[in-house]
Symmetry: C2
Subunit: 292 residues, 2 copies
């Protein structure tokens, strides 16, 4: 069902670090950003961030519509968890339309313009999702830190931190890679990381975001045997995700997220011919769903 | 310096899950247990647990001595962190003697009866420590969950959980090993783990203790290619720790902790001839230090 002319179409991409909102009114589009709206942070906080961003977008468009004239499609982190999902939908204001999906699904819709395809999103975490020609959807990964999230930034950083551990206690020789990791760790906390004790302290307070901040160092040191092995494993893990999403390997695969570009080179040959650039972003995918 | 006859000698082994205390009076010994006294839980709580256990031990021996007649040596988890260490020592009551070490060091002293040697402790976490013939000490590992703790229970469980993730989303075929892991996970939480969503929920609330509870399943399924690869890697990691502790490979190596026996079989040949059984426990090591 297409939205009529008096409806503000709104797409939202929300996660633990922020919200992007794209609003469309009579052919005009604005994009605004706001605070976190991942459902893991609480339903009230998520709705607050979304409605604040909606207000901002209306201001930019010179509008002041009631929510009953707004049609929202949302791709939110945590939307797969049913209790969070139910609570979020229950707390919704009256709207012209509401559709809630995971941010992985809106990323998929944005990347392939709503057509069949597969994505592997590679940011702090990782997740894969596919839309098949028969309308069927499949998903893989998305289990989270620290056990899952293969090929993600947190995954790379967590594993790379082991090289520093080994370099500082004699299990490995210190080298440029371990020193660069120490330096990056030191800029991420008040205390410099110089020995096993300061490293233990850093590690004990590091979460997935902090580990993910080490991923660029791994990519920069891709020639180092340990970094290389990690990046190769990341490429294999991306291929494994794709093969689980589409065992016949017929769907185009778009790598999305902050690490997509850097990891493209590490995808094994057999999968490389399936790679396509994502057409659009998650928030664009959400806006497309709002207009359906 | 040997303790005189009117001193109660007390050894303490304390961690995050409990305290063991061994008290010796005129040749008689009692061992008692108490609440957690790892320094990570706070200095006040640690002293409370220790002094309660001391009271219990005195009752068992029929004594009621003031602390000024007690000579304590403690092997406590977290004693390596200097701020915790300082705070703990400052909060001490007046004693006939006080020595604070890490539980890794008292494990080492217990295992080799105070003589030169090396240990790798394999419990929920892992750590290695050595006392050299010249009195020098060296340590390795002990960086904690989730980035370190190689070959530990939490390390095995965390990695094995990936097989379940893959079996539940199509990256691997479900098999006896994945089913056994699911079953073990289900007994560790109110909700049974049957699909990707319930697994995600389990993983999001699992800490190192819960992951470590999966280690016996890995050991039982040692013939499964994934379990076998993990156990082999654990063996290699133990060897790497030993070689960092003692590059000349001259010290006897005792594996300690709950997984020591099961992982012995996976230690590579080159290291196997160094293996010895630990003579005594961490609390026995602490008592030995109290008597020095």
């Amino acid at each position: 069902m297409a939205a009529d002319d008096d409806t503000l179409l709104v797409g939202v991409d929300g996660g633990g670090s922020g919200t992007r909102l794209l609003a469309q009114w009579h052919g005009r589009c604005v994009e605004v950003t706001g605070g976190p709206s991942g459902l893991g942070l609480g339903v009230t906080r998520a709705w607050h961030a979304i409605l604040e961003a909606l207000k901002k977008a209306q201001q930019a468009l010179g509008l002041a519509l009631p929510t009953t004239q707004c049609r929202l499609a949302l791709g939110l982190a945590g939307a797969n968890q049913s209790s969070w999902r139910d609570a979020f939908l229950q707390a919704a204001p009256r709207l012209a339309g509401l559709r809630l999906e995971s941010d992985a699904f809106t990323t998929l819709i944005g990347a392939h313009q709503g057509r069949p395809g597969a994505i592997v999103a590679l940011g702090t975490g990782s997740v894969g999702e596919a839309l098949h020609a028969d309308g069927r959807r499949s998903g893989v990964g998305g289990y989270g830190f620290p056990s899952g999230d293969e090929a993600s930034g947190a995954w790379l950083g967590l594993r790379a931190s082991r090289h520093v551990q080994h370099a500082l206690d004699g299990r490995a020789a210190p080298d440029d890679f371990s020193r660069a990791l120490c330096e990056a760790m030191s800029t991420l906390s008040p205390a410099p990381v110089t020995c096993a004790a300061t490293l233990t302290h850093w590690l004990s307070s590091a979460d997935q975001t902090r580990f993910a901040a080490l991923a660029p160092v791994v990519i920069q040191h891709g020639e180092h045997p340990i970094a290389q092995a990690l990046l190769q494993q990341a490429g294999e893990d991306i291929a494994l995700m794709y093969r689980a999403l589409d065992p016949q390997a017929q769907l185009p695969l778009a790598l999305c997220g902050g690490l997509a570009h850097a990891l493209e080179a590490w995808v094994p040959q057999g999968i490389k011919q399936q790679l396509v650039r994502p057409h659009g972003s998650s928030v664009e995918g959400a806006l497309r769903l709002a207009g359906e």
